[in-house]
């Protein structure tokens, strides 16, 4: 199995430890990860999509042309990258492929035929690698730990264009987390979005935090989890960093560690937590120590 890792911007810029976790955990699963030479921003919805749609699709096509030339599909963790790449591909293969090739790619010696696709990393892990193979790669387990999952909304909707899970009752990330041995309970606001993406937190931080608090309070009161499992750079950073800010503001008085799924997978596979889960605002040491007590 060979895949092209689409990095995007936030993951390598701000959480290179999560990037490390993705690379090394896939390696442990026997997946060959190649870098997409010359890839650029996806581009994010708040950028070219908000000013010039054709330009956004052309940039998407540029990224696809690189993957296609290397004969791989792209896998991506960032929800926003996933969504925009699926969106541009949808518009390309259904309508604009020829036009974008002629107007843009041909001018810079590139071409996209519509073959290469994008997969979200949870889709790839669940549907291509499979939970059995994940289980057999583990040296440690999350047994005895209670984890709730934050499914990235960008991997669910619009389901007609990019869905691989049930949009109103997603189970992929839950099953993946269960494969690590954790208990994954459900709670009232289970399916609520984190509120961290787009322009919300930037334009009205207080409201975005109030929105997140609804979800955090619900999980704290109903299931009191040991940690939150995400698989999107924005969910990761927002749920982790906003919690710290909310504690300082007196909005919450508890602390729930947040992990990217591949960080937990990598730790369970026996990789060094100092490399795969180094950066966090909300301390995660207790969860990591607990995992390392559970040898498989």
């Amino acid at each position: 199995m060979k895949v092209g890792l689409f990095l995007g911007c936030n993951l390598p810029a701000l959480r290179p430890d999560a990037e490390k976790a993705i690379r090394i955990s896939l390696q442990s699963l026997g997946v060959e990860v190649v870098d997409l030479e010359g890839a650029a921003c996806c581009p994010a919805f708040g950028t070219f999509w908000s000013a010039d749609e054709e330009a956004a699709i052309a940039i998407g096509a540029w990224n696809y042309s690189i993957a296609e030339k290397m004969g791989v599909d792209m896998i991506v963790q960032c929800g926003s990258c996933y969504s925009t790449l699926k969106m541009s591909r949808h518009k390309l293969v259904n309508e604009k492929l020829q036009e974008i090739n002629e107007k843009f790619l041909s001018k810079v010696g590139a071409r996209y035929e519509g073959r290469s696709d994008t997969k979200h990393i949870t889709d790839f892990l669940y549907n291509t690698v499979g939970v059995e193979r994940i289980k057999s790669s583990l040296k440690y387990s999350m047994k005895g730990l209670k984890a709730v999952v934050q499914v990235p909304c960008h991997t669910l909707r619009p389901s007609k264009i990019l869905g691989f899970d049930n949009p109103e009752n997603p189970r992929v990330l839950k099953e993946l987390t269960r494969a690590l041995g954790a208990e994954v309970p459900t709670f009232t606001r289970d399916r609520q979005c984190c509120g961290g993406a787009g322009g919300y937190a930037r334009r009205n931080r207080r409201a975005a935090m109030e929105f997140l608090k609804l979800k955090l309070d619900s999980m704290k009161e109903e299931v009191d989890p040991d940690c939150i499992v995400v698989s999107c750079i924005t969910c990761l950073m927002w749920m982790d960093e906003a919690q710290e800010e909310m504690r300082k503001l007196g909005m919450i008085d508890y602390s729930i560690p947040v992990f990217d799924y591949n960080q937990l997978l990598a730790i369970c596979q026996g990789h060094d937590p100092q490399k795969v889960a180094r950066i966090a605002a909300t301390p995660r040491d207790k969860v990591i120590a607990k995992i390392l007590e559970n040898k498989v």
Binding site: C9, P12, K20, E37, A58, V108, H154, P158, Y200, A207
Partner: protein
């Protein structure tokens, strides 16, 4: 901001929004499903696609140009998924943003110039890479020749052609 029906109306407004990607706007029958589950609902001034569509249909261009709520969108696309009319509210939000950028270039996000400059919204080469034994970044961030080709592609786009000076491109 209340809607004042006595304000000057621009019958072209709706056509302009449709032209930049809001073609399903006319399907909206104002049911409000799009705002029922919107994350911005807890804000003092929430983003209401339903209201924005109403403003566009009335042709209240002045009101629409002043409304910054489309930029608060979380892009979760809950509205897009659940709209019973398939009016694609999220696409309408993007279309309104595009229209605003056309009418008032101060709306054009700064991030576009960042992407033109370095291919990314920010510096993606984190100094911690070495300590983490991460391989070299191979995106346009470290490939000058590919970055130049990427910029060449962007110079073919309408937004960069029409606003070259924002991207540091001087007119010939």
């Amino acid at each position: 901001m209340p809607i004042n029906l006595n304000e000057e109306r621009d019958p072209e407004l709706i056509k302009q929004i449709v032209k930049v990607g809001g073609e399903d706007l006319l399907k909206c029958f104002q049911c409000g499903t799009c705002i029922a589950d919107c994350p911005t609902g807890v804000a003092d001034e929430p983003l209401s696609v339903k209201r924005l569509i109403y403003i566009a249909k009335l042709g209240l261009a002045e009101k629409l140009i002043e409304d910054e709520t489309p930029w608060m969108c979380v892009t979760c696309t809950g509205c897009e998924e659940r709209c019973p009319r398939d009016a694609r509210p999220f696409e309408i939000i993007l279309a309104i943003r595009r229209w605003q950028c056309m009418e008032d270039e101060t709306y054009i996000p700064q991030a576009l110039t960042e992407i033109y400059e370095r291919g990314h919204t920010q510096n993606v080469v984190n100094p911690m890479r070495e300590e983490l034994d991460l391989p070299e970044i191979k995106t346009v961030a470290t490939r000058e020749e590919l970055l130049e080709r990427f910029r060449q592609l962007l110079r073919e786009t309408k937004i960069v052609r029409e606003h070259g000076y924002m991207f540091g491109i001087m007119e010939e």
